[in-house]
Assembly symmetry: C2
Homo-oligomer: 342 residues x 2
DNA sequence: TATTATTGCTTAATCGTTTAAGCTTATATT
DNA sequence: AATATAAGCTTAAACGATTAAGCAATAATA
């Protein structure tokens, strides 16, 4: 049982496919189709349960009404939620989304781009990963429309919509200091990504801005590929230093999950022994015996704006690169409550 | 700068597009293309950075090499991980995946199916939701290839690969009883879905199989749409009953998250006041002060097998519906450790 | 009444591929 | 030398839609 095409309807109605096309696309007025005929065609289409073939439509029109969404890591709930928002917003604008996860791997990211380009997506929304700057530059050179989401390359003039990672980290640091913590550590990824640098810069500026001199051994950088072991080692060092930290900022959700697990194992008391502030957000933070203070990135706005920007680009409404930074909100919970002086 | 097509290459090489097509598809032998010409064509394709248009290919071939994956809820980490597995496995088989989330809503599910059918996906992998049986039956009637994942309709003869929900719940119940718990409650969804019934049946059979008579007030069923409040109410009732429960099985991950949050608020001691076993799996369970015992569904196998089944169906290797049930593994943690007798 | 407009439809090209069938030459076989 | 085979290419139709252009028949206008 082959699929129903315009031709089938045309045959049954004894007319040309052109007429059917006009009617089913609501162009009966402009194209002066007779009322009875229009009704007849619509009825037959209904009867046969006609579903237009978007491949053919797209081939003809040069538009697929499809957006490629490249995520850095779909198993991260932040990105999973981004995906959801983007999907909904895209649908509202008449687009379908094809999601791919690069798993923080530039090669995989490149593969995804290629596959989706072959499938003629109209544009991309990209949460880029390390070493993907060349790919991004290539998209620029080829005039393929895209918007970077949450991570961007300051050296490349692109549209982007991102959290203000610097300000967020600054807020997190200031919050801890305001609540009486003085020796604040940070665990971040060993990564050349700009957003990671920004988070670190914010953290350091919070310290120096409050006349606390930054200690090199307070900042630990771990490899994404060996996160579990390295986070443990980092925490061990942080708490056993001669100036052990009394508070800790996790630069990402994944780091926090691993870190908190280990802190549990060590039977450390949060925030008594160690106050915590983390980037990212997830149900997991609520389940911790002591709810975790986190920097809430404006997922909804980020996702919606990304889609809006891209759609505008696709319609050529806007030409100049739009670059937007959004504030993260510090959600203060028990894990960073004011320090009880000893 | 228009995209490079076969025609462009053909023009530059002074040959017909047919020849170019043969060469770039590796059919130069069958089609007796001269060696030099083949080399020349390949070189030009390289130079122009030719990327074939899959729309045109698909239109011609009738195959898109695309799988539609309909999830019940992408914000559930179980399904997010399923998505990841399916994506990887599909890629390995030369397929791209388009993911959609029905958010447990039959109308949305129907919309997704329609959109993806219009986009000519070759087949579906579906985690179906309540009231979607008609849609599924329609797919059967229209001979659209699909595989149900983790949830199925016993009344419809389809391919499916699912967790054995009954056995899993039975295991969970037996485990609690073996560890000394006698008054075991369950919080489940108010849903007509078969897998939910199976989980409840397993729970009840665990009780009766161990000569514990099931109490109606031990089983609480809540609405998906009002989960937070209803879970609280359910827990209130369960612990304040005249025969209060000493253990609780959450029938899904979402229920567990909400329940555990509330149990935290109530300052109940797990497992002292209340032992816990939950379906689903997530990092969140590890972060709980008392790691949660859960029934681990074989995500990897489920996802991979689903893809394999579908691909076989698409290649018409198999005709008869394949129906597979897989065992969940009970991962025993502290939340259900042997009861300390009072 | 002759001309122009309008109405209601069809024709045919097009999007980028694939592929069966055909057409020249050159080479092999008798 | 006459014929068959093979090599190397081209032609053209097809996939399913869209849409500019064109053609008759009817209605409106002068």
């Amino acid at each position: 049982m082959r699929k129903v095409s315009l031709k089938d309807i045309a045959q049954k109605a004894q007319v040309s496919t052109a007429l059917v096309s006009y009617v089913l696309n609501g162009k009966e007025k402009e194209s002066r189709v007779g009322e009875e005929m229009a009704a007849k065609i619509r009825q037959i289409a209904e009867e046969l349960n006609y579903q237009p073939n978007y491949l053919a439509k797209s081939l003809r029109s040069g538009k697929t009404q499809t957006i490629g969404l490249i995520l850095a890591d779909i198993s991260n709930p932040f990105f999973a939620n981004v995906a959801r928002i983007v999907e909904d917003e895209a649908k509202r604008n008449g687009y379908t989304v094809i999601i791919g996860s690069s798993d923080e791997n530039a090669d995989k990211s490149k593969d995804l781009l290629d596959v989706l380009i072959k499938r003629q997506v109209d544009g991309f929304i990209i949460v880029s990963c390390e070493d993907s700057d060349e790919q991004v530059q290539e998209l620029v050179d080829k005039h393929i429309p895209f918007v970077l989401l949450d991570r961007y390359f300051p050296a490349i003039a692109t549209d982007f919509i991102s959290t203000d990672h610097y300000a967020a980290a600054l807020d997190g640091g200031n919050h801890l200091i305001a609540n009486g913590y003085q020796r604040i550590g940070m665990i971040a990824y060993e990564s050349a990504m700009f957003h990671m640098d920004e988070r670190i810069r914010g953290y350091r500026d919070a310290l120096t801005g409050n006349h606390i001199s930054f200690q090199t051994e307070w900042l630990k950088r771990v490899q994404f590929t060996n996160i579990e072991l390295e986070v443990k080692a980092a925490i061990d060092e942080l708490i056993s230093a001669k100036e052990p930290v009394d508070a800790l900022i996790f630069a990402t959700y994944g780091l926090a999950i691993n870190g908190l697990k280990y802190i549990n194992e060590l039977r450390l008391n949060v925030p008594g022994d160690l106050a915590i502030v983390s980037f990212g957000q997830a149900e997991a933070f609520d389940l911790y015996y002591c709810p975790i203070t986190y920097l809430r990135q404006p997922i909804g706005l980020l996702g919606q704006t990304a889609v809006r920007l891209l759609v505008e680009k696709l319609n050529e409404i806007q030409k100049e690169p739009t670059q937007i930074l959004m504030k993260a909100e510090l959600v203060a919970r028990e894990s960073s409550k004011p320090k009880i002086s000893v």
